[in-house]
Amino acid sequence: MKASISEKRGRRSIRETAIERILFLAGITATISVALITIFIFGSGIPALLDSGFVNFLVGTNWSPANGSYGTLPLTAGTMAVTLTALVLGIPTGIACAVFLSEILHRKAARVFKFAIELLAGIPSVVYGFFGLIVVVPAVRTYILPLVRLWDPDAHTTGLSILSGAIILAVMILPTIVSLSENAISSVPAEYREASLALGANKRQTITGVLIPAARSGILASIILGMGRAIGETMAILLITGNVAVLPKSLLDPVATLTGTIAMEMSYASASHQQALFAVGIILFIIIMLLNAVAQGVSKRMGVNQ
């Protein structure tokens, strides 16, 4: 019997092809989802944008759905105020933790610390919000307010404020900043480190003068992603920032954010109000996409540099 290798294509190869098709379908599911998300968010929101007028919607300072007035500047300002304050608190802390993790702690201790950071990432945002509401908000009212009154006697706050939100957000974005920065710092080639130490620089000078600058793209990417996380965060903010859609004047003022407004008002919104909330979603969507694109670009550049 001389069985040939040119026989039996049949069932087996049909099965293989079918399986490959199915796997391909699974592979494009995420892409299709993103497309659908884009279509439905834009499709549902664009009518409101057209109604209010694009410019009015973006820079109008009056958000009062009851009167059909949809100016989102207070919301964008609220989001930005909370996010930037959170970054001011979170960036130094995050980088310090990253340095601590990659350069100072020994391996075993570093594993424990890493686990702690992962836990921080795992805690649900609603729990953060609740903690903020119960602990941070009163703390701002009772401890921070008197301090501020020392130079501004008229200051007042309920505690529901940009500052309270930012404190909680800063904690929430730490895991993103720490883990990505730590990656960037520990992937700096060993020669850099050795070269610096060989020149007589001490460890501190090596860290601040060589490692952090060499890892700056990765650190920057981590900050941008952390910023994206902060802007997109909903539940924590919702409980802490007070949800008042007015342009804030101080860090102790309450604000409404893009995300918080959507979450708050969606449940009772009328049809046109709902469209306006989808339009707010469009703004959020665009901001996040831009930030992600920038972060991608930055970390790609990092790949080229090394």
């Binding site: 040939s4 290798i5 026989e7 087996r12």
Partner: protein
């Protein structure tokens, strides 16, 4: 395999390779290879590292398909069928052309599961038949006595030499006609190497063996034919005795006598 009886009289051609070129992207790794590999003979491929012998042997069971940047022109006929042709079933080809790799690569399964993997894939479900196959294949590679009490223990617990013999047994269990061996002893110690070489001499009766080796003594000890590769070209192919005692090409002679490579 009813053709064993007349094999001794007039060897048939198992592989007929004509004008084979192989490119990794733009780098040409094989140049115009022409070769006949005879049935039921041991053919050794020798040459300095990077000369294309491993690339060549991996072409014979189309293992290079795994590397997307590889482009191949020319023809390789197995029993008269072009293995790159449209009507070639690569699975059927690989069933007939088994392969043993440089580093032992048993699956992270038990010894038993390693052996029956191939037969099961090809449709054998009968438990008794499978048990027999396991015993037979392991006996063929002289591993049976060493592992018969640990058939259901992880194969990764065996020594390197045992693992490699297990891989040969795994290959035999599929009942191939050809066994390709890509430097099968390079990761093994001398004792294990000797065992594998003994094993090869016992297999030569029934299989066509193509072996890549960097070890010329090994080629001399075990092969009927030897082919010398240099920079992706076949410099010469001849009876092993002839290559080692009286090479017709001066480059072969230089290599054999250790002047380069």
């Amino acid at each position: 395999m009813g053709n064993n009886s007349n094999a001794a009289m007039r060897p048939e051609t198992q592989f007929e390779i004509r004008d084979l070129d192989l490119f990794y992207d733009k780098f040409q790794a094989l140049h115009h290879v022409d070769m006949d590999i005879l049935k039921n003979r041991v053919t050794a491929l020798i040459g300095p590292s990077g000369c294309g012998k491993s690339t060549f042997i991996r072409t014979l069971n189309r293992m290079n398909d795994l590397i997307p940047i590889v482009k191949i022109t020319g023809s390789v006929k197995f029993d008269g069928t072009d293995i790159f042709g449209r009507d070639c079933d690569v699975i059927a080809l690989r069933k007939k052309v088994g392969m043993v790799f440089q580093k032992p690569n048993p699956f992270p399964k038990t010894v038993y599961e390693n052996i029956v993997y191939g037969p099961r894939i090809h449709g054998e479900k009968n438990k008794r038949k499978l048990d027999e196959l396991v015993e037979m294949s392991l006996k063929q590679v002289a591993l049976w006595d060493e592992v018969k009490d640990r058939l259901h223990k992880p194969a990764l617990g065996l020594s390197g030499g045992q693992q490699q013999r297990l891989c040969i047994a795994r290959c035999l269990a599929v009942e191939p006609e050809v066994i390709l061996m890509d430097e099968p002893t390079s990761a093994l110690d001398p004792v294990a190497t000797l065992k594998i070489e003994e094993l090869m001499s016992s297999l030569r009766e029934r299989y066509t063996i193509v072996i890549v080796t960097h070890n010329m003594q090994q080629a001399g000890r075990i092969s009927d034919f030897t082919s010398f590769f240099l920079n992706g070209e076949v410099i010469e192919t001849d009876h092993t005795d002839a290559i080692f005692s009286n090479p017709s090409n001066s480059k072969t002679e230089e290599y054999i006598t250790g002047r380069f490579g």
